[in-house]
């Protein structure tokens, strides 16, 4: 499994279990719009941020725009970008 797939897998599990309350959900794709569907709102954003920071051992800047959390693919891209800047050696 590539690193990207691993990140997406962890995010998917969090979103289906914690945010959708539907662990067996098979409809969610990496491009499903989490903001437009109200899966992430101002409250669940807080728990998502905490999950991302703990799971991937990184610090999300306060001023990340909500749009960057709008899908699993975009959150993955955000994580990869921050991992690239905060821990350049921790790839592979």
């Amino acid at each position: 499994m590539s690193q990207r797939q691993e990140i997406e897998g962890k995010l998917r599990e969090f979103v289906t279990t914690e945010l959708l309350g539907d662990p067996n959900n098979d409809e969610l794709t990496s491009s499903t719009n989490l903001l437009a569907l109200g899966i992430i709102d101002s409250i669940s954003m807080v728990s998502l941020r905490i999950f991302v920071e703990r799971t991937f051992s990184l610090r999300l800047p306060d001023d990340v725009q909500p749009d960057e959390f709008s899908s699993i693919a975009r959150i993955t891209a955000l994580i990869e970008r921050i991992q690239g800047t905060q821990a350049p050696s921790a790839t592979g």
Binding site: L20, G21, D22, N25, D26, E27, L28, T32, A36, L37, G38, I39, D41, S42, I43, M45, V46, R49, D62, D63, V64, Q65, P66, F69
Partner: protein, 466 residues
């Protein structure tokens, strides 16, 4: 900029008495559009910027708007709806330049507004129980009675800095904007992205040196729990106001303990009456578990509670709160005017003494999720429009920040998934009304007289899932 907006609207043919939609994210441009409409003697109608096109179109056609001020992108979305014929003034992406038919606007209109106190100033659309949004029509007199009261209540001054957290289609924003305008104070609009990051909200409060904050309690809870609000020193606030939902007492107690001298006020009132009661929080009884009271009548209004037997509630009794006075709306758009009739709020209250009331709950199916008013019927009507859904009942489960909109559904065949249903809702309803969770049942529980048993469903919603 408001003059430019007025000119653009005049170019677009807006006349006194017309309705002008404002379908924009919060910005100075959106405020200018609202002011521009008022300068022409027209009324404005803020539309939830997160509404899907079909809901915006339903509001535009419901009150027969003469014109909508919006973005080019949203304007294109309207072109695919029933409201395609409505004229549009667009605001470019920077939010700086107004255009009508793609042309920049040059001259401002002459003269001043011809509006009289009983003319319509704005319409705020709220969720409607029959599945259609309802337009609460507010006159200049209604708005002014509230604004004048608010200015006196917080002793607003030109050097005050008001926060604006609530969206413009939510009536909390009326205080922020117009109390500030009324005394020439500054109003600082909370940037869109900050609503999702409590630490940014706290930075906004300190960075903008906000002196008067007004929001729903949920936002304050989020700022306390996740944004280190309680660590702020010194706090720039002169007054802290909250409304829209009960504020759990433990948080009010914590705030009181942290800032004993800070005036904190619980304001109450549905959109139809704006704020009709208020309470300045004093010492809090350590034994108290209920939220702080909603207080006593404001704005020159009269409020009283009516018991099930139809009598005015005595001290200690519960009843529905009724309101009469200068802030009571003109009526719902397209419905008979309210006239001098008092407005029954649908809220149950308990009379504490001669003047003060405690909030108890709702009489009907109106739900509140973090201050957003949601009629179960509107969400249910939307769900029933899905071919896979035969019966639907929507209730709120959980408490405080954990509140969720639950749909209990009976399927026609193979049940659609949660994402499919959320997508269906998102195409028709504003974001705050999209269901959070679905439970499929073979049939809906019924009371003895055949109505859906919502109490039973609420209990089911509060049970952890097996």
């Amino acid at each position: 900029m408001a003059d430019e907006a007025a000119a653009a609207l005049e170019n677009a043919g807006v006349k006194p008495g017309d309705r002008v939609g404002v379908w924009l994210d919060k910005s100075a441009g959106a405020v200018a559009a609202m002011q521009g409409a008022l300068r022409l003697g027209a009324a404005y109608v803020p539309i939830d910027p997160q509404s899907p096109g079909v809901r915006a179109a339903a509001i535009i056609t419901d009150c027969a708007m003469a014109c909508v001020v919006t973005t080019p992108e949203r304007s294109a979305r309207l072109a695919e709806t029933d409201a395609a014929d409505c004229r549009r003034v667009t605001l470019d992406d920077s939010g700086d330049e107004l255009r009508f038919n793609g042309e920049p606007v040059r001259t401002g209109p002459e003269g001043t507004s011809s509006a009289t106190p009983n003319d319509l100033a704005y319409i705020l659309y709220t969720s409607g129980s029959t599945g259609k949004p309802k337009g609460v029509s507010i006159s200049h007199r209604n708005a002014l009675a509230f604004v004048d009261w608010a200015v006196a209540f917080v002793d607003a001054r030109a050097d005050d800095r008001f926060s604006n957290h609530a969206p413009f289609h939510f009536d909390l924003s009326v205080l922020d904007l117009y109390a500030a305008f009324s005394v020439g104070a500054c109003v600082c609009i909370v940037p869109e992205g900050s609503a999702y990051a409590p630490s940014l909200l706290v930075q906004f409060l300190t960075g903008e040196r906000i002196t008067i904050w007004y929001s729903v309690p949920s936002v304050l809870v989020l700022m306390m729990e996740q944004g280190d609000l309680l660590q702020v020193e010194p706090l720039p606030l002169r007054h802290l106001l909250f409304a829209g939902e009960p504020f759990p007492i433990q948080y009010v107690r914590t705030l009181r303990g942290r800032w004993p001298a800070l005036p904190m006020h619980n304001l109450y009132g549905p959109t139809e009456t704006n704020v009709c009661t208020a309470l300045t929080v004093g010492d809090i009884d350590p034994e108290r578990t209920r939220p702080v009271p909603i207080g006593k009548a404001t704005c020159g209004d009269r409020v009283w509670a009516v018991t099930d037997a139809g009598a005015e509630a005595e001290v200690g009794q519960e009843g529905e709160l009724w309101v009469s006075g200068p802030t009571v709306m003109l009526g719902y758009w397209g419905h008979p005017p309210q006239g001098d009739r008092p407005y029954p709020t649908g809220d149950l209250v308990r009379r504490i003494d001669d003047e003060n009331f405690d909030y108890v709950g709702r009489r009907d199916q109106m739900l509140k999720v973090r201050g957003h008013r949601i009629e179960a019927g509107e969400v249910e009507a939307c769900l029933l429009a899905h071919p896979g859904v035969r019966e639907a009942a929507v209730v709120v489960g959980g408490q405080g920040l954990k509140v969720k909109l639950f749909a209990f559904l009976v399927a026609t065949g193979e049940p659609p998934g949660i994402i499919a249903l959320k997508t269906h809702c998102a195409a028709r309803l504003p974001r705050s009304m999209i269901i959070d969770a679905v439970r499929w049942l073979p049939q809906l529980p019924r009371t003895r007289n055949g109505k859906v048993d919502r109490l039973e469903l609420q209990q089911l919603a509060n049970q952890p899932r097996e």
